[in-house]
Symmetry: none
């Protein structure tokens, strides 16, 4: 049974988004929140409403659109300004307006930061903590406090840092998370400080840990804090965050569940979610952040359970547990290296069934599909985020061919700019294809080459397939995949299309971005027509 009194608190959307190179849209944040909920975290810190306009919008949309099965949303903000009242501080009011059930307040707990960064006194800083916590409690919110720069502050003036924590609890804070904001602590220091604070705050005080990885010990520091009595852990998916990143929440929860025997992730009533989804969710989120996954990442990395074939290969086959620290299936990873959810026959069979195709009775089709998926993934395809392309591949192997809605003769796209900096470029495309017994040539303009190709393809097909009218390209993602020594990079394009009722995703891969996009565009049209029950004309 999951221990609900233990908090798994994710801050990917707030502190993780501080990472260089991460820029999340509101839609990205909503999608990530759903994935985190599926994983089974207890709290999702969504951002800083009032300070960051996009975060204000996130909470507005989340209140209406986000259907979480387990996690609670937390809004992050600061204690009130010096010399004001919490109730009159617009930044504090914005936290209320966010309608998040939990508010996490960052509070200075290092005297030097209070004096030098806030330019106030230590005493007024304590007053700010007390006043802001008490105000938000009166307004009916659960209040967590992030004691910023706690460990460095404790080393400088332990009494003051302790007082900041006690003030927060006295004012009604439910949790105080001790933050190693600069990330330089080592596990033994963390343990000693947490034990000291526990002794001061009492055994019932709910203490948390917020670690950064500057000394390479964020995961170990978090575990040391838990061993010393913390029952609330903060971290980010894939360890995203400023500088060296935050504690990788995935490694933290995997260690707690698998090495400490402490179930901390919530599971759905049907047993879904939790640790077996760890690898899939880690990779899905990296698709959204567009940060390449780190192959050596503990538990979920593509290499995490990979063994160089050699001396011990047969021994590994007989006694896998002698060569791995844990069963990779427990975290949804794979000893065989192909990290994809799709790689094994069993999961492909399952996926086929989900899409309405029973493959159990057709083992030869299942074998061919498995082998094509493996080949395709080795070449840069990913089907995790492209169900429609996967289904077309499946249909092709089941029926012997993909649906023949049209036959392409040629296509061309031209982008040109006739002028210097500032002159807009223009894009056009021409498509020649055969459909409905005719040869059709269509040309269209677009705001870029892919858009022009999309318009030209659509224009060519519309007279034969008017059903295409409702299809709209709603998302387009590009990823350059590094290849190993000496080979060229390849480009992967993911396209999402909507017909107003449902949406579907297709993938294309090639040395050339336009070519990869064309593959995804045509797959999208074919899948959409097939799904609508349109016969090939």
């Amino acid at each position: 049974m999951t221990d609900r009194s233990f908090h798994v608190y994710d801050t990917t959307l707030r502190d993780g988004a501080q990472q260089e190179g991460i820029a999340l849209s509101v839609a990205d944040k909503l999608t990530i929140a759903l994935l985190l909920d599926e994983l089974g975290v207890g709290f999702i810190e969504g951002g800083w409403p009032g300070a960051v306009p996009k975060d204000t919008e996130f909470f507005q949309r989340a209140a209406k659109e986000l259907d979480l099965r387990n996690a609670e949303l937390a809004a992050f903000g600061a204690t009130r300004k010096p010399g004001t009242r919490a109730s009159e501080d617009p930044q504090v009011r914005a936290l209320l307006d966010s309608e998040a059930p939990v508010v996490t307040l960052v509070a200075k707990s290092d005297l030097r930061h209070a004096e030098r960064a806030l330019r106030t006194t230590g005493e007024e800083n304590l007053g700010m903590i007390a006043d802001t916590v008490a105000f938000l409690r009166r307004e009916g919110r659960r209040v967590f406090v992030d004691a910023e720069h706690f460990f460095d502050g404790f080393a400088f003036d332990a009494a003051y840092s302790r007082a900041a924590v006690l003030t927060a609890f006295e004012a009604g804070a439910e949790v105080v998370a001790l933050c190693d904001t600069n990330g330089g602590m080592l596990p033994d220091q963390v343990r000693d400080v947490v034990l000291d604070v526990r002794a001061a705050a009492g055994p019932d005080a709910v203490l948390g840990m917020h670690a950064h990885n500057d000394s390479g010990c964020a995961v170990a520091n978090t575990l040391a804090a838990v061993d010393a009595g913390c029952v609330h852990v903060q971290g980010t998916v894939n360890g995203y965050g400023e500088r060296t990143g935050n504690a990788d929440l995935l490694a933290v929860v995997a260690n707690l569940e698998l090495k400490r025997g402490r179930p901390v992730l919530a599971r759905a009533a049907d047993g879904d979610g939790g640790l077996p989804e760890l690898t899939r969710i880690a990779h899905a989120i990296s698709e959204i952040t567009n940060i390449s996954p780190f192959a050596r990442q503990p538990y979920v990395g593509a290499s995490a359970f990979a063994h160089k074939a050699g001396l011990h290969a047969s021994a590994i086959k007989v006694d896998p547990d002698l060569y791995q620290h844990t069963d990779p299936a427990l975290v949804g990873n794979d000893m065989r290296m192909l990290v994809s959810e799709m790689a094994g026959r069993a999961s492909i069979e399952l996926k086929g069934r989900q899409l309405g195709h029973e493959l159990a009775a057709r083992p030869e089709v299942l074998s061919r599909v498995t082998s094509r998926v493996k080949d395709a993934e080795a070449n840069g395809y990913t089907f995790e985020a492209a169900d429609a392309s996967f289904e077309l591949l499946l249909v092709e192997e089941m029926d012997g061919a993909r649906p023949a809605y049209f036959r392409v003769e040629s296509w061309r796209t031209i982008v040109e700019r006739n002028g210097g900096r500032g002159t807009p470029a223009v894009a056009e495309a021409t498509v020649k294809l055969h459909a409905g017994g005719e040869r059709i040539v269509a040309t269209a303009e677009g705001n870029g080459p892919v858009n022009a190709l999309d318009q030209a393809l659509r224009s060519a097909l519309l007279r034969v397939y008017p059903e295409l009218e409702s299809f709209e390209l709603i998302d387009f993602k590009v990823r350059i995949l590094d290849q190993t020594h000496g080979t060229d990079a390849v480009t992967r394009v993911l396209i999402e299309t909507s017909d107003g009722h449902t949406s579907w995703s297709t993938v294309g891969v090639g040395p050339n971005l336009i070519e990869a996009s064309w593959e995804a565009l045509t797959d999208s049209a074919i899948w959409g027509l097939r799904h609508a029950g349109v016969p090939a004309r």
Copy 2:
């Protein structure tokens, strides 16, 4: 003074080379060995002579060519085969032939591995350890023993694992390194086991630690072992290694020197080498392994000391030590301010100073730059990963115009495919521009439209600016930025260019991917020429 009785033992060339995607030539290994020696490690494990032909050659060439100022070379190998004599085992003889002053023997210390992988008895395995160690000692070598799978073995049968260690010491081993081969330990377990072994082996026994990062705790596990009495640490540069990698030796030594006050790296008589070289050497080695550096790597990563939050920029300027766990100069790294969404005047001023432009005395320029950066970021630009574009913007505001190396009249790119699925597409581009007093028209092909434009621009400019010859596009990132409902998406392109010595990044944004790429390509050429001191011709 460096503690010479403490061993920093590097195994990048042996265990690190097990990483997927690393393939080192003998010349690569010799170069890396020199860099490791410069860093000041005590021991360099060069490979497994006799088992790996390239490693045999490495030791042959090292004996003749490698002039190490401090480090000793170690040859890695295994205990003799069951049922033979060490003196007659060709693999053991190859260790002698390597002429390495130190031999590190891997020995089974988990009873299950002795029985199931070696298919021998526990007793014979102990005999193999005793016999092989004693033989090599008689031949005048220093002998270290890697007790493989020690921690898992200890959990299964502590008495047997302890006996393996004691046998090695009794036979004359100078060091026994306890190996967490499967990498799943946590620091408290490591500490308890090391304390147990120390009690059994006596206070003078030299124990070492060899950690892998499967639980995300390799660095902390190594420190826990040192705290419990180990005086020999093994690891690899950048944490290279199989699966999740080995303990990152760089983070281990930085933590020992900076956080434990324990100087462990040797310095040259002139003070050269050691920790201040950490970042440079980490990056130099990643050039040789051709593994992209991990930006979030502790101490040496490009982001390790980068700050994003514009809010605190003014405070960081005054009190940098309140915002960093250690002075980046101590490890040869640099504090870097990221120009980000929250860009304030203070962070732009600081950024300008880092790039060598003093803006404090020119407040009107600072205002214009700040306002342009804010506008640009609102339109999708990001300068945190595009220093070169930021500097061009700065220079434009300081000098009134950007450097006028060339004037573009027009460009065009065409991508076409004449055939159905499977036919390759072809891309070409034409650029018309004015430079060096001429009008130049150049056309080039490429594997995609951006590559074709890059080739055509380069071809057009080369006759006027031969300096461009050395520039190479080394990374290309594309991101589609979702805009809010109802507006078109914009595309952001980041390009990294290298001239073989340094690399720089530029950004382009537009509704059209090709247009955005063109902007980043031309900025890259301009920045590179300006940086090389080339005058506009």
